[in-house]
C-alpha cells in the first residue's frame, strides 16, 4: 500500500517511514506543504498521514486538496494540536482518523489496519488459536462452541491488540498506551497489564491451556500463531 507521510519534522518522518516500510508499506515523504501538495496532485495513495502544523501550508487546506485529488486515500491527521475544534474540523473535512502526538507507531498501524478492514468490508475477522476462535468484529471468544463470557471489555481489547500485532513482542508501555490511552492520570508506570494478562490466562485456562499467549521475559507479551 502506498503511504504519503507529510511531516515537517524530518526525524519523525524518517521514523514513520522506517516503521511502515518494515511493515510492507510503500512510503513517500514530504517535509513541507508545497511538495506534499504537488505529490497529492500527481500520485495516488492508499494512506495520507498528514501533520496539521506545517509552517508553510495550512494543514486543513492540504486535507481538502487530498480529498479532491485522492478520494480513495484514507487520511489520518497527525498533530500536536489536540484541540476539539481542530479535531472536529479535520474529521468534518473527511479525515478518516486522528492521532495526537505523541502516538505509538503500533497504534498508528492498528488504526491503519482498522481503516483497511472498514474500507474493504472485511467482516470475517475470526482467528483461530489452538481451538479458541477469536472474533474481532463481534468481539467474542469461543472454545468448542462454548463462549468465553468472563472476558471483560478491557481484556478483549488487549487480546485483539496483540492479535493485530501477532508474533511481535509488545511492551507493557505499548499495551498500556493502547488500552488506557484516553485516561489521563499521574501514574506513568503502571504494571496493571500484568494483572490483566493473569486474569485472561486464568479465564481461558478453564477451557484449555492458552500457551499461545506468551510472556517474553523482561520485555512484555506476545501472541504466537502460525495463522
Amino acid at each position: 500500500m502506498n503511504v504519503l507521510i507529510i511531516e515537517d519534522e524530518k526525524a519523525l518522518a524518517h521514523e514513520l517511514e522506517l516503521f511502515l516500510v518494515k511493515n510492507n508499506y510503500i512510503c513517500e515523504v514530504s517535509n513541507n506543504g508545497i511538495s506534499a501538495s504537488e505529490k497529492i496532485a500527481v500520485n495516488l495513495y492508499d494512506f495520507i498521514l498528514l501533520d496539521l502544523g506545517l509552517p508553510d501550508y495550512e494543514g486543513l487546506d492540504l486535507l481538502k486538496e487530498a480529498k479532491k485529488a485522492n478520494p480513495e486515500a484514507a487520511c489520518i491527521i497527525l498533530t500536536a494540536r489536540a484541540e476539539v475544534n481542530d479535531r472536529v474540523k479535520g474529521l468534518d473535512l473527511g479525515a478518516d482518523d486522528y492521532l495526537a502526538k505523541p502516538f505509538s507507531l503500533l497504534e498508528l498501524q492498528s488504526r491503519m489496519q482498522a481503516i483497511t478492514r472498514r474500507k474493504f468490508g472485511i467482516t470475517q475477522n475470526i482467528i483461530e488459536l489452538d481451538g479458541f476462535l477469536v472474533n474481532l468484529t463481534e468481539r467474542t471468544i469461543i472454545y468448542q462452541d462454548q463462549a468465553v463470557n468472563a472476558i471483560t471489555k478491557k481484556e478483549f481489547d488487549l487480546i485483539a491488540y496483540m492479535l493485530l500485532h501477532k508474533n511481535r513482542t509488545l511492551t507493557r508501555a505499548q499495551l498500556s498506551e493502547h488500552i488506557w490511552g484516553s485516561v489521563i492520570n499521574d501514574d506513568y508506570d503502571s504494571n496493571f497489564i500484568d494483572a490483566h494478562i493473569k486474569n485472561i490466562r486464568k479465564k481461558l485456562s478453564t477451557f484449555a491451556p492458552a500457551d499461545w499467549l506468551e510472556t517474553v521475559r523482561g520485555l512484555g507479551y506476545r501472541i504466537k500463531t502460525n495463522v
Binding site: E9, L12, E15, D187, A195, G218
Partner: protein, 445 residues
Amino acid sequence: MKLTTKLTLFNAISKLVIVTLFILLLPNIIENINKSYNDSRLLKQKNKLLQIVKEKGIQTYIENGESYGMYLPLKEEYISLDEVEPGYHLDTIRDEQRLVERDTIDYRILSHTFKVDNKNYLLEIGKSTETIGETTGPLQNIAFQLLLGMILLTILADQIFSTYILRPLNIIIKTKLIGNKFPKFTVYKEVKTSTTDFQLLDLSIHKMVETIETTFQKEREFISNASHELMTPISILQSKIENMFELDIADELKVRLLEMQKILNRLKSITKTLLLISQIENEQFLKEDKISARYLLQDVYDEISIRLQDRNISLAILVIDDVELINVNKFLLFNMLFNLINNAIKYNKPDGEITVSAQWVKNNYTISIADTGIGIADEELPYIFNRFKKLKQSLSQDSFGLGLPIVKSIAVFHKIGINVVSEKGEGSTFTLTFPQKVTGELPAK
C-alpha cells in the same frame, strides 16, 4: 469593624470627652464670669455714688457725722458710708461676712476710702454672694442639654457624611475585589468618585489586577506552548525506540530500551497532563454531554477494577439517588472521578476500603469518595491541589503530583465544589458538590 463605624465612634467619643470636661468646668467658669460682672457693677455703683457726692456734697448721705447705711428688704444688697480716721486707707473688692439685723450673710464687698472736706470716709457696697451664684445651676443645665443635642446632631451628620464619602471605597471593595474571580476578571469599570485617594486606589487595583491577569495568561500560554513543543521531540524519541525494538538486537539491549521507554512515558504523561490542564483552563472543551451519575461511576469502576484487585481493596459504589448530569464534558468528568478513586486506591492501606456515595445532601447533589487510607496531614491539606507540590506521602509512589491539579481544574471548569476532610492514618473523604446547572433539578421530596 467598618471604617465608617470606627470614624463615627471616634467622633462621638472625642466630643463626649470634650463636652464632659466643659460641663465639669462650667460652675467655675460661670462663677468667674458672675464675679467679674458683679465687680464691674460694684465699681460702677461706686463711681456713681462718688459722682453724687461730688455734685451734691457729702451731706446728701451724712448729716451730723452719723453714718449712712441702707439695704434692700431681702438684704441682697447694702450700701454704707462712714467717717473713718484720717490715716485709714482701703480700696478692695473681696468676700466678707456682715451681720445685718442678726443675720450673718456672705457678701461681695467693695470697700473704698475717699476724702471730702478734709474728712476721711469709707464707702462699702455689698452684694450677697448667694444672689451672685444663683444663676450657675440653671445655666449649667441649659448648657448641658444644649450641648447634648448638638453632639447627637453632629454624630448623625458625621455618620451620614462618612457613609457618603466612603461609598466609593465600598464599591471598590465589592466590585473590584470580592466580585472578581481569580484568574478570570471582569472588564474595568471606573468607580465614580471625586475623592482623589479613591480614584488612585481604584486605578492601582485595576493595574494590579491587569498585571495578575497578564501573568495568569502568560502562564497558561507558556504551559500550552511548552507542552505542544515538547510533543514533537517526544514523538520522535518514541518512534525511534519502537523502531529499535524491531531490530534484531540482544535481549539485554531490549531491556535497556524498555527502561528508556519507561522514562519517556513518564515525560509523555507529564506533558499530556499539563496540556490537558492548560486546555481545560483555556476552555478548549465543550460541556454538552449528558450522562447519569450511576453510569459514569460504573464506567470508572470498569476501568479501575484491575487496580483494586491488585491491592485487594474493596470498592462500594452506593448511588443512593441517581441523577442525569447535564452540560458536562464526559471525558473530563470521567478523568476527575478516575483520578480521585485512583488516589483512594494508591493512598489506601492493603485490604482497605473505598466507599463512593452519590446522593442529595439538602439541595445539592454530591458524590463523595471516602477511603481508609493513610490520610493527609493538616499542614499538607491546603497544598494538595497545587501543581507539582509533591506530598511527602507520594514520594514513594509512581506519581508526580498532577492527579489532584487535574481534578481541581476539571471541577473549576464545571463549577463543582470540592471539599476534603482527612485525618492522618484514618483516611480521607473527597466530596464533590455539583451545581444546579449540572444536575438540572432539585431532589424529589
